[in-house]
Symmetry: C2
Subunit: 621 residues, 2 copies
Amino acid sequence: MIDPSQLPFLSHEGRYETSLRTTGRLLSLRQRHSLNQSDYSYLLRQTAEWHSAFLQDVYLGALVNLASDEQLEKYEGLSRDMRIVGCYAQTELAHGSNVRGILTTATYLPEEDSFDLHTPSIEATKWWVGALGKSATHAIVFARLLVPSEGDLGMHAFMVPLRCPRTHQPLPGITVGDIGPKFGFAGVDNGFLRLNHVRVPRTELLSRFGSVLPGGKYQKPPHSKLGYAGMTSTRVNLAVRSGGQLAQAATIAIRYSIIRRQGGAGPDGREHQILNYTIQQHRLFTQLANAYALHFSGTYLTELMESYRKGVVSNAVDLDLLTELHIVSSGLKSTCSTIAAEGMEDCRKCCGGHGYSQFSGLPDMFASFVHICTAEGDNYVLTQQTTRFLLKCLSQVREGVFRSASPFTKYLSKSQAEVEAERCPVQRPEDFLSYKIQLAAFEHRASRAILTVAERLEAAVGRGLDADAAWNSVLVEVYRASFAHCLLLILSTFSQVVERNRTIPSIHVVLKRLCDLFALSQMEKDLSDLLEDGYLNRRQVGFLRDQARQLLTELRPDAVGLVDAWHFSDTVLNSAIGRRDGNVYETLFNWAQREPLNRSDVPQGVKDYLLPVISGDLSKL
Amino acid sequence: MIDPSQLPFLSHEGRYETSLRTTGRLLSLRQRHSLNQSDYSYLLRQTAEWHSAFLQDVYLGALVNLASDEQLEKYEGLSRDMRIVGCYAQTELAHGSNVRGILTTATYLPEEDSFDLHTPSIEATKWWVGALGKSATHAIVFARLLVPSEGDLGMHAFMVPLRCPRTHQPLPGITVGDIGPKFGFAGVDNGFLRLNHVRVPRTELLSRFGSVLPGGKYQKPPHSKLGYAGMTSTRVNLAVRSGGQLAQAATIAIRYSIIRRQGGAGPDGREHQILNYTIQQHRLFTQLANAYALHFSGTYLTELMESYRKGVVSNAVDLDLLTELHIVSSGLKSTCSTIAAEGMEDCRKCCGGHGYSQFSGLPDMFASFVHICTAEGDNYVLTQQTTRFLLKCLSQVREGVFRSASPFTKYLSKSQAEVEAERCPVQRPEDFLSYKIQLAAFEHRASRAILTVAERLEAAVGRGLDADAAWNSVLVEVYRASFAHCLLLILSTFSQVVERNRTIPSIHVVLKRLCDLFALSQMEKDLSDLLEDGYLNRRQVGFLRDQARQLLTELRPDAVGLVDAWHFSDTVLNSAIGRRDGNVYETLFNWAQREPLNRSDVPQGVKDYLLPVISGDLSKL
């Protein structure tokens, strides 16, 4: 594979080229060793960067959800081999998550039996689309479907060829390019696209869920929500990635904290390993526990997606499952990526100055990951989906018609009075190690949060606000309710995994501690949610803190083992300070020697602009 | 000036060259217009990047604090003109904040009446030093002073020439270079330095606070803490910068939130400006208030530093003032940069996808700023300084000898019983708008936090831990106590400024709202600190939230005016989405056209690595 330690020196152009090289190598390895999909997916993750082959997988997820069987026949195989390089062209310069607001049009022309795809304004330019800038041969373009006799039929997806299959030059009517450098993600050619009355045949409307017949009759999708399945698939992908990325950051930070020594003299006469400071443990072990927690909820979400996909493939779509998937993936995408991004940045800061060097691997890892918080549905906007659903459940409870489809919404069936009366029964610090007590606290928090939304919403309507304005007035609480619900879901799946490992005591005891720390650190972080209505009392808060600190001490001996268990290779981590062999300082020194500025003792810029200053001759500057 | 919109396309090498060009231009402008120090300082901030002239100012701050009058005579003028380019070489590869642990040695050689400066190991390599990589002609090197008859005299500072004044080539015994790319700060040549028995004359020990006489007799500094004044000056600088940087990010995000529209139809039939969503207001106005708050505490800190410097210059050092400055600058550097870094990143996220583009100006602004959280004393480590001091005050209170030097420590004179008995007297939402009530709540929080440290420390000692281990066991609480103390200080200075503006009602009313929002949002953020011991009750929390939301509505009409008031030029912000003229989308589109990848429709990398994949020929990859 390509030596990733050169990446920090490369520009966007160089990083993009490297990503293409990596992609070519991955495909060639797949072919040579006839890898199956699961092995290939594993291989895709064995690199230090987000590359084109990964993006192709995102596009394929959308294609599978949107295309009809005939269309899949035509496109899927070529796409899997990257003979077709695809992209998912939804976002526009002036429109993101609000897909109903997109401006690109696809007008059906009966006389030509084709669609005219058009970008009516600069604001309608497709923007941010991964792999569109320089790579893609085709785009799945989202546009408003306009059919003469039927009017505006809303957003639909079209397969649009972008570049000549032979020369790779943009086709007539297509203006396309790269949108320039980003925070991270330097290896990806996010692009823009303008369509000037581009024609595609009628059959290129991706029509698993709605199509136009010759002459212009529109055939409705079986369910209006089905068109959103592509976006759901992407969100699942992003939520699932969160745990793995946080795990990488935690691995680097924990390994480095063993090597780094500072302050006072430890038992061996040398300065203390910084991992022995409680504040460092408090910060890093919390992220270790978060990473494991997100990993297991990611597994849960993947299984849910698989069940749904099996239905789609056999043309037996489970709409309840799609709704659940939509709600859970929206909420978890937001919650998991928020926890992971904050956690990664704290892991970086835990490495002090060296965490700020690109050689630590952490800045680029964070900067490339954090786009997930605002992409594919902003993390704040998205939570409205989850909370609206929870409110609907709540009103079903009140009407006595609540039927819980998901095991995680059972708590909604409690009445307000029941929730009000709940109190945490903890009597001693170690009581906090009971799942029952932890889950009860998380449920209480989630109940209160959604009840608060309902209450404030009613009050706002009572003050005379219309529905939109009332909803707007409670958005802060809407976010909190979704977050609390998702935390409950994450803790539930985590504790189930721990229990499944009860038969292997050595694993069980460590996983249990991690799960406990996840539960207690999340409670400590947002303690006011449990204090405000008296669910916890002051004495219990003291116990909670004591027990949380106690867990740090108990986890200390296993900390390195727990990160080594993830088995990230040095290539994937691409970190001078997170290496398996611990040779931190020499590696930092050696890598620095390769900085291009060091090729000369006196670079041209110094000669041109600094030496005149030093010699006191400012006249030429 | 140089067009800053090209910066996102440049590598570290290119950014460094631009920073040198900028520096040359700034100096030339100073000379041409005979600018005084204050005008020049203002000019230094009128650029989009951290440049060499700014770093020179940091070095000069240290020089003034460390050098004797004779040494200043020799170096100050040349340094102000950048005929000497200096740097502050303290940090080593294996040592950061713990200056007592540094390994570089300076051995006095009586026979040569000079010092032998030496880097004994790879770990002792000076690292991270700004302007050292390729620019500096001289370094202030921190090393352990070894004098034959007197032993190891601890850390001292030495002026060491690094490069030939004519050729700029490194001098004999000097190995120096750039440490490579970082998260941000691309225009700065952070460097490394190894000294191989380099000799400097005895008179090059910077000797305002201690010197060696010919033959080797050591002359003690008047006070052991004085040597740290250089570091204090840097911390003041960083704390002060925090407010301005957050203000820039808030300016971009608030301006963009007026232009960006999304979701539903507003009163004008177009989609809503996103600034009209309460969640966006909640996030952005909080940062607006934080930026103003940090600005005013920065002014306070600057004035404190000025008073101290006046004393130093007139050789009448005020040790009480130095102690206060040390404590306040340590605490505020940590608190202000933490608030600013978190706030800047949230401002970036508030801009959704476009905040992720380098063209927004936000990623580089955040990435360049955030080094402050871990540099010059890590933000967690530093808080130990503040909290140790507060504990000392507390024990003086208990011994009945407390004499408050600072107006912000008066609250420490309350007894534990008094603090326990305190309750928030709020009866209606608007009661939360009283300074008295706000300050009382902040004081209560700070009191409780420091009492908790003391309590837990005693308990740990009681369990048999030694002093170090007991201290280690309470580090989480130590951080919280320093943070709470600094918030009180920030609110106090903010409210004083607001009151000074009472005579100008139009300004007073808006500043008061900002100050209120700062107070209430900080309370809401860490609500558990006021709930845990029953200081606030549930009804009051409801009032707090209502009042905090009410302030958002009241601030909305002034939001744009409040950011325009800072008067950042488009050059300084360097943001396609934060422009004064609001022409967001066209600018993004135009800037993207200049991306180097767009020079060709089919870049070489695509030809070499992607076209073989598309044509199905993987054999060569």
